[in-house]
Subunit: 376 residues, 2 copies
């Protein structure tokens, strides 16, 4: 029984060819690299001998209509070299081939934004170090739970930190991390790099080991639209359904997590943060359930709390109220109004102001900035 | 504190617009449906007023070069209606717009095959009922473990059945489910619909509640290529590294699972199945570790076991040796050779022969066919 089976290289090669193939228009056998970062520049390449015009669109370009032209080489490879976008961040891009938007077939790194798949360009730098894979990684799980308030079975994402399984006697604090409109329960783990950011900060000793719960904040959805599941028919304009999602979060999701994971079920070990619509959910959940969360971080938030609500939070001894917003965010004025109410309520807070607007680059930056402040 | 916050519909709409947008060439505001199934036909639509030629490629077409032309309406919507492909299965397709391959922007249902994203068409029928979402769903987790044999930290997918969390005293049998060349640890959950198939079979009482472990079978990979992680430099032609992945599976992954999940750690509660290269791994793992698995299911397998190895399995009291293969599979002869050895060894077995070749439609069919036979 010691004889080793001969599963030859031949077999592997044969099987590789035989996998189901999509009918890719890009049939080039020539191996090219794209994007290729060298020093301060980056080269994009596309093998498309048949094409007449190839352009590059990137989310770092000044306007959405702007583009960069690629030039065709004698080998049919289109190419352009540009200065690396700054600051160091994750940028997204795609090619436009004869007017049709396509992904870079050489770049495996893809984010899903709603129903769109976008290629990523990670520009190295201090700020992006925590977006890379660390060596001690947590577990990402997709779980389903029943929401009686919303009347559907729903999916959520849970990150448990490295060491969760190896330390069965240990209990953890929990961060509830909420996405914006157009997002779903995969937004923070896909576009937000939440798992990588937490892995790195925890490994470096900068953040407490914590569980991160990323629910789906669209109250009519069972799960990400990629599941193709029907949406609910609940009428959210009916006053009886006011704040239905926030109620579901606080009265159903929090108990579900505290039942199924080893958590420290105390306000001082619960944090809530969210971007845009999820920032509104963060403000609302903390205002409507002032005893639940001691760490509250609305990011580029859509929404405000009343001075009375914020005074109530002060009375409850909230430990952190951390507001993040970009200078050019279209919700800037609303965030200023929130800060004004916080001041009037006398609730100690941080107003973290960044460059730029309503973009994931800011939300990744905010997460890596406030996560080290939690549960300390 | 009872005052409800006014996070108005206005805010939601604003936030939706403000999400990061990709620069989609398809800017049409007109709402269209694609694909639309009506009775025995299906209509595909694409809003592409600028395009000169729009074709549809589908994996049900006779040859990979074949295509179906769409016709442009006066509203700029391209359309074609065809008979639903048969048999009922999940098919994949894409559009070719002026020579460029693109996904159907109206179809949220997407599978990832290696580095390609393919739109899905689910044709309703008895065979595909188990591919749909059931109402009692298990959890899908992505975990990382250290492989000393392969010298890397690696990612694997684990399905735990509905009820796993609610029954903390219950232990479960485990199916190790292996992908083929070109695949990775997400192949069975994405293209194979493994979670949906198990959810449905378990909910219907047809299969035992079981844990399903889907590792990455490419020994040089840490994780799916979408992670962009470096591959190992291990020389797999070095005889010292022979069967390195199979050894890692049996000596590292099985113990990792049995330590971190509530499993019944006995041969009669362990099954192994795999397709193509993973079928080879299945044959090899069961032959090299004849005491480990009592249920062995090579699917369209690349590989064979010796008569002596199969006799040893018979001696160990293996309960199921289930071989699946399509009549037109390019590995058909190899599977016949495996069956011949099984006969010569006197090891009771099943040879499940399907139509078609080396395709996911068959592997989904095999999974729903053999899963009810496990652990009984």
């Amino acid at each position: 029984m010691k004889k080793i089976l001969a599963i030859a290289a031949l077999v592997f090669a044969g099987a590789a060819q035989a996998q189901e193939l999509s009918n890719f228009a890009f049939g080039g056998a020539k191996q090219i690299v794209s994007p290729e970062i060298k020093g301060d520049s980056v080269t994009f390449r596309l093998n498309a001998n048949y094409a007449t015009v190839v352009d590059l669109y990137g989310n770092w370009l000044p306007g959405y209509g702007d583009k960069i032209s690629l030039k065709k080489g004698t080998d049919g490879i289109w190419e352009t070299t540009i200065a690396l976008p700054q600051p160091a961040e994750i940028y997204t891009y795609n090619f436009i081939v004869d007017g049709v938007s396509v992904n870079d077939p050489q770049n495996y790194m893809v984010q899903r934004d709603g129903t769109r798949y976008l290629n990523m360009l990670l520009v190295p730098g201090t700020r992006t170090d925590v977006y890379k894979e660390s060596s001690k990684r947590g577990t990402v799980s997709y779980k389903w739970y029943d929401s009686n308030i919303l009347g559907i079975n729903r999916r959520l994402t849970v990150y448990t930190p490295y060491g969760y399984e190896a330390n069965p006697g240990k209990k953890y604090p929990v961060l509830y991390l909420l996405h914006g409109a157009g997002g779903d329960e995969e937004a923070w783990s896909s576009m937000g790099r939440a798992a990588q950011i937490l892995d790195n900060l925890i490994e470096q000793g900068k953040a407490e080991p914590m569980i991160v719960v990323m629910p789906n904040g669209n109250p009519n959805q069972q799960a990400a639209p990629t599941f193709g599941l029907p949406t609910t028919q609940l009428n959210f304009r009916d006053p009886a359904n006011a704040n239905a999602y926030v109620r579901s979060l606080c009265e159903e999701i929090v108990p579900f997590i505290e039942k199924n994971f080893r958590v420290i079920a105390k306000p001082e070990k619960r944090a809530i943060a969210g971007l845009s619509m999820g920032g509104g959910h963060t403000i609302a959940a903390s205002a409507l359930y002032p005893k639940l969360f001691d760490y509250i971080c609305p990011l580029s938030a859509a929404g405000n709390a009343t001075v009375d609500q914020l005074k109530a939070l002060k009375k409850e001894g909230v430990k952190l109220y951390w507001v993040g917003c970009g200078k050019t965010d279209f919700l800037w004025k609303g965030n200023e109004a929130l800060i004004a109410n916080l001041k009037e309520a006398g609730l100690e807070h941080t107003f973290y102001v960044s460059e730029g607007g309503h973009i994931w680059a800011n939300w990744r930056l905010y997460l890596q900035t406030f996560a080290p402040l939690l549960f300390k």
